[in-house]
Subunit: 337 residues, 2 copies
Amino acid sequence: MKETPDKKLSIIDVAKLAGVSTATVSRVLNGNGGYSKKTEEKVLRTVKECGFTPNGNAVSLRTNRSHCIGVIVPDITNEFFAKIIHELDIFFLEHHYSLLICDSNEDYELEDMYIHNLIQKNVDGIIYISGQDEIKNISSVETIPIVYIDRCPKNAKVLIQSDNEEGGYLATRELLESGCRNILLMRDLRYASTIRQRKAGYLRALEEAGVPYNGKLEIGIFPDYEDARIMMERVLKVMGCYFDGIFATNDRIALACIQVLMQHGYRVPEDVKVVGFDNVSLTEFCNPSITTITQDTRSIALAAGKSVLDLIHHKKIKEKMTVIPVALERRHSTETV
Amino acid sequence: MKETPDKKLSIIDVAKLAGVSTATVSRVLNGNGGYSKKTEEKVLRTVKECGFTPNGNAVSLRTNRSHCIGVIVPDITNEFFAKIIHELDIFFLEHHYSLLICDSNEDYELEDMYIHNLIQKNVDGIIYISGQDEIKNISSVETIPIVYIDRCPKNAKVLIQSDNEEGGYLATRELLESGCRNILLMRDLRYASTIRQRKAGYLRALEEAGVPYNGKLEIGIFPDYEDARIMMERVLKVMGCYFDGIFATNDRIALACIQVLMQHGYRVPEDVKVVGFDNVSLTEFCNPSITTITQDTRSIALAAGKSVLDLIHHKKIKEKMTVIPVALERRHSTETV
DNA sequence: TTGAAAGCGCTAACAG
DNA sequence: CTGTTAGCGCTTTCAA
């Protein structure tokens, strides 16, 4: 609580002030033991008095630990990812790590730049959330711990994932139980593993209900609101409304489908029922509200956070893959009248 | 593109490999001049060949520059803030800075911890977005450049802000022009400067239209969906619908009001017209869609980014305060029938 | 145009 | 229990 000094003071200044060596100050500050109660108090007092904060760069250089975790995320503007970051932030604050956030904008080149950046910054670990179809393996980072969320390259160590298959199953079963028999699968055209799993769930539900799979009912689209709208318009124009249910692999697609359907005079849920994926807050407030699959962002973040920490501390990771349960959130878009 | 070496190589290794001194390697890498074309090529080639990346911590320690910017944000899950971060990320990637994101959860204590963290990490600058009523001045960080967004302590150097007064004015004028005469002001109860400015705009529009201000029409609430709902319920129960328009100081409040009104049998916009603030994507898709004030997140982020950079490079800042224009986004919630 | 060497602030071995 | 000291990997004088 003193006036700001001309120059930031170093451990040497503190040592002088406390009348001990820098080693002792360091020991006390890091709680490494090997000092008397008395010196501890003395050091702690001087540290507080002069408001000393160790220079993180020096510490990092010396210990080869930056206490930084890099997080690569496709789009922080997407509520699903934002929630994960939020939870990660809380988790890592507790563990005294800072988060270096890299919003890759789903852009390969940017991701490369970011990775390079992170290496240079000497991050202790990376959490890698990719929207990409396939992630290339980052050979240059083989030395630093990476935990993947959602997707990962073949030789990756750790992957955290929602139970996408179950999600696809729950979504489709909900539609079937509401009486749908021709369920459109509106899926991300980048045929990533998460999407394949959701489709697998869709197929399982279909089979269980004795409804044959119809390839004409599967449509790949770019998972963006505008693109989904355009595709839905086209489908309606060319094929008409040849379906009575839609399982969309994310909420934005679901929303786009509903909007287009309603603009063409179809009623949701009366004529067509719809289920989305992610449980973005929009789904609760749009009209009709959208039945969707909740991904447990908190558990995902927690699992990812714990895993990087384990990796950093060279603990054995039990499971290469952690699967986080999902749940169906029932709303108006699948209501039976 | 060689096999991963046992240990990360240092500038010394590169120097040996290239047959020059470490000083020369450093000079070339930093483009500081004072070397021949030939050595430059030689060094660059070896650097590429062995995939050398300088140790950022060593650089930072030596130069006292971390090339990190700390960003403190109340809630990254809020689309408005997420967008700002997104734009900041893009801006600073170009300028070779990394972003240390601190999600303060609108919590003073957390903010303190984060600040401490950032100091220790030796960030070159801080961008501080606070949801708080009044920000306390961080005396211990007087030495490092801080740019504030939205709110700032008295003695702050730089503040970036939307034109909140104009926003309040536009919102209220829209309601007045749609025929409203009893306009409820549903405002954040934390009476921060941004909110005061929005109210000032509200008053200006009222005055311009010759409508007297009525204190009974001003209600302070915690700006959260659930709290806003509860308050609206109470208002309706106690006072009935004694208003024909609502200006809510954020979109979540606006949404809550609309939902409650409709559940009580009032029609929006026929009986009550509503304007929100922020232009969160929800407002476009809910029913009815909500007229709102757009804050230009990109310009805000750009201004903030440029300002920290200027501060870091000791450039003179022209204006202590930068005001970013806002715009009215007209939607169904203020439509005249 | 280049190299030698000091030192950024800290930790950790080693010696006492 | 405490101090001395050698670096961590880099930049930057200074001298050549």
